[in-house]
Amino acid sequence: MSEAILEAQAADTLPGFDELLFEAIQSEAQPEVLKRKRAEAFSDYIQIATPTNRDEEWRRTDPALFPITEVKRLATLPQLDALPARPADEDFDVVIAVQADGFAIMRNNDTPEKLGITIGSLAEAAEQQPELVEQYLQGKALPAKSGKFEAFNDAFWNVGFFVHIPDNVEWEKGLLIRYNITQPDSLLVPRLVVVAGRNSRAVMAEHLESADDIRFIAVPERELYVDESANFKLVSLQEWGAQSYQITNDWGLVQRDANLNWITLNFGTTRSKMKFGSDVAGPGSAADMDGIFFASGDQHMDQRTLQIHSSPDTYSRLLYKGAVKDVGRSVYQGLIIARPGAIRVDAYQTNNNLVLDNGARADSIPGLLIDADDLKCSHGSTIGNLDPEQLFYLRSRGLDEETARRALILGFFEEVIDRIPQAFIREIVHRNIEAKMES
């Protein structure tokens, strides 16, 4: 065997996502800091073994289900002047619209500018504020070394945004990032870095869509840095199309006395593997993680959450509500981690699942990893069909069985829907749930 072949075997790359593609990306014009960070990530990427279904994390969702090597990475997306507006855009100060052929940052007013808020592509931000951006490209929100797909994202991302909210700024109307991909057999690798400065307050939303009739894969990564006493809320509504796939890695780092609230709403894709972790890293900090997922048809949704407590006197609450229908399948794996010294921690994890058909299946695997004492950590999970007593109660008041079932299913999710601040997202969530009940 020649030396070259030996080397190629040592580098663990996904076919097509190799040195050759990487060199092509690196030859594109981009700020020095991004080039350097991509190179570091690529070297991690080739060293990290590609996961298989023998890895605990992927045991219930075989990585082979994701045809990454059969799709083509969209060329790094160029910035366009504008893309068509939508009615809901008006609810935000700024809207970023992303399509396969480019993205546009559309400002409805000059509020962000007046408040000193940075909203831009990673490239633009790194060009203008290289030191600031670099501080947040160290992967500090990640609790450990990157995994394969985090390194993949950091090396191959083709659209990236950087949002920086300065200290003491209250940003009421916030930002919407919406994706709508219609390019067949394409791969989108979005990267998002958000920094909420000390004592700031802000709300953001994401809306992810792709056409139902195309095969499409997304490998997003989000990093949220919530600085001291800041209050940051993000709502991510995922409606990727019926033939799409996604592998996500999302991390939030919450400093002293700060609050992070992240609501994830998952309705789309045929196969998805999602990981979200928050670290309440400063004393007095809090994280609220809420989620809805609904797998119908033959959808497969796998979610893993981590509630990490690195500091004493920290708080986290997680409420994930899911339904499976037809032959849909969901996996929820949750872990609460209290690091050494994290005393007086208050953590709770709740995962409730509705199994609406005999062919459907939901797995709920809660877990605690406690290295401290004097704390309150607990979890609860339920898996079951609709409560026959509730069903009878509604029917005894005149609602037919179908209407009663719908009311109960919507009601099941309402606790989370209630926490969504944007009315248009609540409406879309209702529509998704209704469509799934109908199908």
Binding site: D387, L394, G398
Partner: protein, 258 residues
């Protein structure tokens, strides 16, 4: 409907749950405009009877029939029974998180009275009046159905639903249990608002005191799945004058708590 025609009638009703017979031949006939009281010790089948009347799927009727205004009730789904004008005030109403009281009551009202499908504004106006009448807090209607309600609030909620749905025949399953005297008065007030020539009522109770507020025309005593004694206005009058000790002496302390 003439007075002589049967309004609500149970004939030789047998029912079981999980293979255990509970009702062993119940006969009961109620005319339009009448209020009947059903008493009996714990485990005698009172709640089973209430649930069977409404069509609870956990109970199987093995014999007999229930006729309401000429219709065989046992052939109907629970919602069809409600739409026909039957109502059950539950002993233990379940909480339904995520379903708001106002929204639920509107859809229940429209399902039971498609001919009266009202505008939301009119509906809410009437709902608010009923809420005031039942001395319930206004915030009630925006809460989730029975979710986090106290025992007394749940019972008022049942009566509020009854006033909203305007049934032709209602069964109250121990609605008075656990209520303090003020709540009991409010509940009775609600019931008496509906009472009249076009209404029939079966009050299932364990306590004498509610009979002071809701005056029955007939009394029945259910023991071990059978009605062992029934009496009409003469009996009621006698009991009102000389007290219910006679019931306890004859059928046991358990039948009716003083």
């Amino acid at each position: 409907m003439s007075d002589t025609q049967t309004y609500f009638e149970i004939r030789n009703l047998h029912a079981e749950t999980e293979g255990i017979p509970i009702l062993k031949g119940v006969d009961l006939s109620i005319k339009q405009g009448e209020t009947h009281a059903l008493m009996g010790p714990n485990g005698s089948g009172k709640s089973t009877l209430a649930n069977v009347i409404m069509g609870h799927p956990a109970y199987e009727v093995t014999d007999g029939e229930i006729i309401f205004m000429g219709q065989n009730v046992l052939e109907l789904d629970p919602e069809e029974r409600a739409q026909a004008g039957l109502f059950l005030a539950f002993q233990y109403p379940v909480a339904i998180p995520g379903v708001s009281v106002a929204k639920f009551l509107k859809s229940a009202h429209d399902a039971c009275h498609p001919e009266l499908k009202s505008k939301s504004s009119e509906f809410l106006k009437e709902l608010r009046e009923n809420i005031k009448y039942l001395e319930v807090d206004d915030s009630f209607i925006n809460r989730y159905l029975n979710d986090g309600f106290s025992g007394g609030e749940k019972k008022r909620m049942e009566i509020l639903q009854m006033l909203t749905l305007k049934p032709k025949f209602a069964v109250m399953d121990e609605t008075d249990s656990g209520l303090d005297i003020d709540a009991l008065k409010v509940v009775s007030k609600g019931v008496n608002k509906l009472a009249g020539p076009n209404f029939g009522l079966l009050v299932i109770t364990h306590y004498e005191r509610i009979l002071r507020y809701i005056h029955p025309d007939h009394l029945h005593i259910l023991i071990e799945g059978k009605i062992v004694h029934s009496g009409g206005p003469e009996l009621v009058k006698k009991l009102e004058e000389s007290g219910y000790d006679w019931v306890r002496e004859q059928f046991g302390q358990e039948v009716l708590v003083g």
